[in-house]
Symmetry: C2
Subunit: 298 residues, 2 copies
């Protein structure tokens, strides 16, 4: 990890207080030691948020920090893992202390909320982006895969879907807040162990992400449009037409968990069958055309 | 990790063949399981290379890949760790298949050279940068720190210093190649265990990085300018004046290892004393003014 002179001062001031894990060595070394837990596997994921792509130019730095962290915690939760620590790679155009203070406060709040600690990282001058690598633990051999869905399972989702997409469209109120600061069901993640046959976090779009589960599991997933949970705020914005539901189910950036299981304490939105792919059906059981199942970078 | 439809195709074509570790699940899941080794600590480091900052706009993609990987392997080596696996976060402006093919070939060559495997990652559309998180193993509790240097130790460095800085200045020949593709002493890293009292990789500049060791260890480090190893190519470019040596010792981007030890099989460049900071002395033992000990991002 790179700690030049003035970077080192910034790291000492803003980030070292966040590095409470023993293996972080106060961010004063080239590397860190990842905390191990006996009888557990170490699960790791990495996701990057880039200005103008994953967050807005005028988003407050503390929400950028929380989003960067939470898009990773969402992956851990979907795998049944309990989060433990994370690495931070931060690039920003200039060393703006007010920006850094707000950014670090967002990390600090989320560290307390989710019981995690900064382990290491690096800072660069460059375009504004945040790349986080998050670590969690699952009992050995128990990580929930995308590939375990079986015909006869039902399909579930946590929380509500489409809020973030609505927030990006309307740029105000509770929906914008949801775009800026997603609420992944971090505590629910480990409860999926022994229940879920397959799980995925909803990042690209509900239908796209269930498509990954269908592909990896070799099954067909049928989603009932009317059952997809949507918030009152989103229904007020977009209404209840099938187009509105389709929009919510393909907008992405939700960071909820979609999973398959025989039975579970979450919203059931469909079923797993023999076959391939994902289909969306309306209240009459008719298949709804899905021109684009989710967000694509390219 | 984010795998949208067309990203998923790119990942399957170019990166899945590189993901040979069992915990990578063929890059078809949200997360990976990091390989553990009994009796060892898992050491982790992360570093990002950004176009126009850490590599040149017209550098071949396969050298960009190698540089991104090697700046991380250098950190592991300096800690005495044997590299095992890495995560890749790649952001690029457009899905350019020729670029990706060359980039992946650079990773493939280095995986074979260093005995490592891709474990996971994510891809985004955005400014060109590569953020890598690398994992290695050291015997439990044995990671070499920056903080162990003691008065009476000698100071050593591997390889030659300043080549990369020379390459950036002259933009041609062997020195440019060294800027593009550093040669960190990866196999030498684990040999430092039981020899080195402290170690650091030379990334910001030899004097700046030894400054980190001096700070962390609470000692004074004296570097003898004439003993700093410089390649024939660099000496041909910059000459042998004290200014040329100072330039080499502060240019950075070397990715060699500087370490302290009572005795070692590397080039001895100085000694550790009671006190604080780093001083450079000339052949007559006079202190050389160092206006700027290394590269700073801000």
């Amino acid at each position: 990890m790179t700690n030049s002179a003035s970077e080192f001062d910034l790291i000492a001031e803003f980030f070292a207080p966040l590095a409470m894990a023993p293996g972080a060595f106060g961010l004063r070394d080239d590397a860190a030691v990842v905390p191990a837990r006996t009888g557990h596997d170490l699960v790791v994921t990495t996701d990057t948020v880039i200005v103008g792509v994953d967050f807005l130019e005028d988003d407050p730095p503390h929400t950028v920090a929380k989003k960067a962290l939470r898009v990773n915690l969402s992956d851990l939760a979907a795998k049944g893992a309990e989060p433990a620590a994370y690495l931070l790679s931060l690039s920003l155009p200039r060393a703006d202390r007010a920006w850094l203070r707000s950014f670090a406060s967002g990390l600090r709040d989320d560290q307390a909320k989710f019981g995690i600690s900064l382990l290491g990282g690096d800072t660069s001058r460059g375009p504004l982006f945040v790349s986080i690598t998050a670590f969690g633990h699952v009992p050995a051999g128990r990580m929930i895969r995308r590939s375990g869905a079986r015909p006869g399972d039902r399909v579930f989702v946590t929380g509500t879907i489409g809020d973030s997409g609505g927030g990006l469209a309307c740029r105000q109120g509770a929906l914008l807040e949801r775009y800026r600061v997603p609420e992944p069901p971090v505590a629910f993640g480990p409860k999926l162990l022994g229940i879920a046959t397959a799980a995925v976090d909803v990042s690209d779009g509900l239908l796209a992400d269930l498509g990954h589960v269908a592909d990896a599991s070799g099954v067909r997933i049928v989603v009932e449009a009317e059952r997809i949970p949507r918030s009152p705020e989103l229904r007020a914005l977009w209404g209840d037409s099938i187009d509105a539901i389709l929009r919510a189910a393909t907008a992405g950036d939700d960071y909820q968990i979609a999973f398959t299981a025989p039975q579970a304490d979450a919203t059931c939105i469909g079923r797993v069958e023999e076959g391939t792919g994902v289909v969306l059906i309306d209240a009459g059981g008719r298949e709804v055309a899905v021109p684009r199942p989710g967000f694509t970078h390219f």
